[in-house]
């Protein structure tokens, strides 16, 4: 029997309505109690001045294994998750080959266990080979442990296939995560279409490419009763579509990345491909709409779309470089600095979007410190100021647009299934 007492921290557990100073008592990998009581424990963690919350979950990461292990592995990605204060991640299936079978789903879980750091949950491909032509074996992958289904990286363009995916996955009570993008409108675009793309002479991606796909999918979700989760929404119009869908009772949820609530397309003026991602950085009013969407609950989740790329692959002409940035090790600091600190959302709301909300969407019995729950806990210093140093990341890649930024709010330690892991090596 192992016991641990996390003492005197500011415990925030939105799922249980807890928000105050308390002790968290853990036994054999489960939460026993949260409260004033301080039961005798084998080990004690002094959390005075720190926030103690349910283990953070990032439901949208790319771990590149198998296929591009030089950019990231399930082990290195898990280490990055721990360093960033995340106890669980959901891995997108756009690996090489695509994660579209039960065996591959189980491989992801196995590699996650071998790494022994964060919980790694596989998201299975919607279509065979992510080709967007016919359904992959969703039922088999469900049995193997897939928590959701997505062709992320590419959209499910064919409306009939999307309809089938929503109907079929609902049978297993799993959502379809859509990378919302009309490929024809997207064209050969490499940044947001607008004033800046016109000035720079770079091919634009219109906001309508994203919005029109979300509009279509909300209609299909309504028709099928399936659960649509719109990944990384980035525009005013997308937020409006999701808001209207929710108001109409459609099962639609949505997520936003930290770069979409902090950066605008003005950054691309440097032609630095560290600002190239898909969806692209949008305009100021879009950033405002993302913040507003988080505040009013239109956007359920903050997920970073961690997309590692080798430096030599990324250091190209802007239009030639691949899309994507990494985020696991900066998300918490960005959320605290740019959402909580200025008062856009409460601390409790911020934690909700990274714990109980993604847990509910992925049907995970996690995201809470309720008695009996898995002892996944994140402990962070909400006031600690630190400077992002991409060179020191646990991730194998360095494509981070926030390198050198000063952030407030730093993860200190996590518990994964009761096991205490520091977010940084002791100096």
């Amino acid at each position: 029997m192992t016991t641990l007492l996390i003492k005197g921290g500011h415990v925030v557990d939105p799922a249980c309505g807890v928000d105050g100073i308390a002790n968290v008592f853990v036994r054999d990998g489960k939460i026993v109690s949260v409260g004033e009581k301080a039961p005798k424990a084998a080990e004690t963690f002094d959390a005075r001045g720190l926030v103690v919350c349910p283990g953070l979950i990032d439901m949208h990461v790319h771990l590149r294994e198998p296929g591009k292990e030089e950019e990231e592995t399930i082990a290195s990605g898990s280490a990055a998750a721990i360093a960033g204060g995340f106890t669980s991640v959901a891995a997108m299936p756009n690996t090489e080959p695509a994660c579209d079978s039960e065996a591959q789903v189980e491989f992801t879980i196995l590699q996650g266990r071998r790494a022994g750091l964060a919980n790694v949950y596989p998201i299975g491909a919607v279509s065979k080979g992510r080709k967007g032509e016919e359904l992959a074996e969703i039922g088999q992958m469900f049995r193997g442990g897939a928590v959701a289904f997505s062709d992320d990286g590419t959209p499910i363009h064919n409306a009939a296939l999307m309809r089938l995916a929503l109907e079929y996955s609902a049978m297993f009570d799993r959502c379809v995560i859509q990378h919302s993008e009309d490929p024809n409108l997207f064209g050969c675009g490499c940044m947001h279409e607008g004033k800046v793309s016109m000035e720079l002479g770079l091919e634009g991606i219109p906001a309508a490419a994203e919005e029109s796909m979300i509009a279509r999918d909300v209609i299909l979700a309504k028709m099928t009763g399936g659960h649509l989760h719109a990944a990384h929404i980035s525009t005013r119009g997308s937020a409006a579509q999701v808001r209207a869908g929710k108001a109409a009772g459609v099962r639609v949820t949505a997520e936003v990345t930290p770069h979409h609530f902090t950066l605008t397309d003005d950054r691309v003026r440097s032609y630095d491909s560290v600002y190239k991602m898909n969806p692209p950085l949008r305009e100021g009013p879009d950033v405002q709409a993302m913040i507003e969407g988080l505040r009013d609950g239109t956007i359920d989740v903050i997920a970073c779309d961690h997309a590692p790329h080798a430096t030599e692959e990324k250091e190209l002409e802007f239009n030639e470089a691949p899309f994507g940035v990494i985020g696991l090790e900066t998300t918490l600091g960005l959320v605290m600095t740019f959402l909580v600190e200025p008062g856009h959302i409460t601390l409790s709301k911020a934690i909700e979007t990274m714990s109980i909300n993604p847990a509910r969407i992925l049907r995970l019995a996690k995201g809470t410190l309720a008695p009996g729950a898995d002892a996944d806990v994140t402990i962070f210093d909400p006031r600690k100021t630190w400077t992002v140093d991409a060179a020191a990341f646990k991730s194998r890649s360095r494509n981070c647009p926030f390198d050198g930024w000063k952030l407030r709010g730093r993860p200190e330690a996590v518990l994964v299934g009761g096991k205490l892991l520091p977010c940084r090596e002791a100096r």
Binding site: G187, K195, M198, E199, L200, G201, L202, S270, E315, E317
Partner: protein, 333 residues
């Protein structure tokens, strides 16, 4: 917003004499002030005589190496830069992209670093990717001159177009100038828009709605889809070609025939224009599409003057890139 990095030696203003250049690099005209554009045009005027002479040569750039790296086909611009460099006494080297490592998978930056290792003074770059010259400024110590990048800018073309208008009209301020054709994909259009709006012209763009970015309105540019309505009021019309190589999706207008009928400049149309209108074209011409031969070769055409003026303008740009103060004739940097 100035996008030139102040970290490389090439970014430092040359001499302390006034007026001074803001940088040795020339990446685009959007980041230059109206005063600096005027200064470049004056420097070009100072070189006009020398530019057209085969018998006399300046020694200003003696012992300097100007490298042209064209990663996209070009005839007149490359020749013009080479000749401009030689008339200033520089050594020139053409780094032909087709025969270079760029076709063997080496990255742009690696190639540039290798050229850099050969101690060059000015790197003149043409590249299909917007922003490539700017990326190079962060890697090489030499001055970088943009000879056209993607759909971004073609600053020396913008300058020589302004120079040609000045030469024939004596001024730019107050003139009504239209750029007609594929504005969306055109770096020439952008450089013209920045230069001419800064110099006080009333700038119009005209063409099919699918090839005109609405965002230009934010910069005071006026938009027309009706060449016949616009033409009679113009002082200058600059005809562009369709950049077929940059159109990747479905064709952006129904047919060449319809395009020529709506936006081509022919003799009948030109008849409705002012008698002293200037007809310009950056080349290469698609005769019979955006311009008919009798107009291109007719009395209102200044197309060949543009080519000649390009030489003086590029001498001015190389003068600046080599680090000499404006109007300096001494061979010291």
């Amino acid at each position: 917003m100035p996008r030139t990095r102040a970290t490389t030696p090439a970014s430092k203003p040359a001499a302390s004499s006034s007026p001074a250049w803001s940088s040795r690099h020339l990446l685009g005209l959007q980041e230059l002030s109206a005063d600096e554009i005027r200064l470049l045009l004056k420097q070009a005027a100072a070189y006009r005589e020398l530019a057209t002479s085969n018998s006399r040569k300046s020694a200003l750039l003696k012992g300097r190496l100007v490298v042209t790296m064209f990663v996209e086909p070009s005839t007149r611009t490359k020749v013009s830069f080479n000749l401009a460099a030689r008339r200033l006494g520089a050594d020139t080297l053409d780094f032909a992209a087709g025969s270079s490592s760029l076709s063997k998978g080496e990255t742009l930056v690696d190639t540039a670093l290798n050229i850099e290792a050969m101690a060059i003074d000015v790197l003149v770059v043409r590249h299909p990717s917007s922003g490539a010259p700017e990326l190079l400024t962060r890697q090489v110590k030499s001055a970088v001159v943009n000879a056209g990048d993607g759909a971004h800018e073609h600053p020396t073309q913008g300058l020589l177009d302004a120079d040609t208008i000045l030469q024939h009209k004596g001024k730019i301020e107050g003139l009504r100038v239209a750029i007609v054709g594929d504005i969306l994909h055109s770096r020439v259009a952008r450089s013209n828009v920045w230069a001419l709006t800064k110099l006080g012209a009333e700038v119009w763009v005209c063409g099919p709605a699918t090839l005109i970015p609405d965002e230009l309105r934010d910069f005071g540019v006026k938009i027309s889809y009706d060449l016949d309505a616009l033409l009679p009021s113009l002082d200058v019309v600059n005809m562009l070609r369709i950049q077929h190589e940059r159109i990747k999706g479905p064709p952006m207008f129904p047919s060449i025939r319809e395009y020529a009928r709506l936006f081509g400049l022919n003799a009948a149309r030109l008849h409705t224009a002012k008698k002293d209108i200037l007809v310009m074209h950056p080349g290469p011409l698609n005769r019979g599409v955006e311009i008919t031969p009798e107009v291109a070769d007719g009395p209102r055409s200044v197309i060949l003057d543009q080519v000649s003026n390009g030489l003086a303008v590029r001498m001015a740009v190389l003068h600046r890139a080599a680090g000499f103060a404006p109007f300096s004739t001494e061979g010291k940097a």
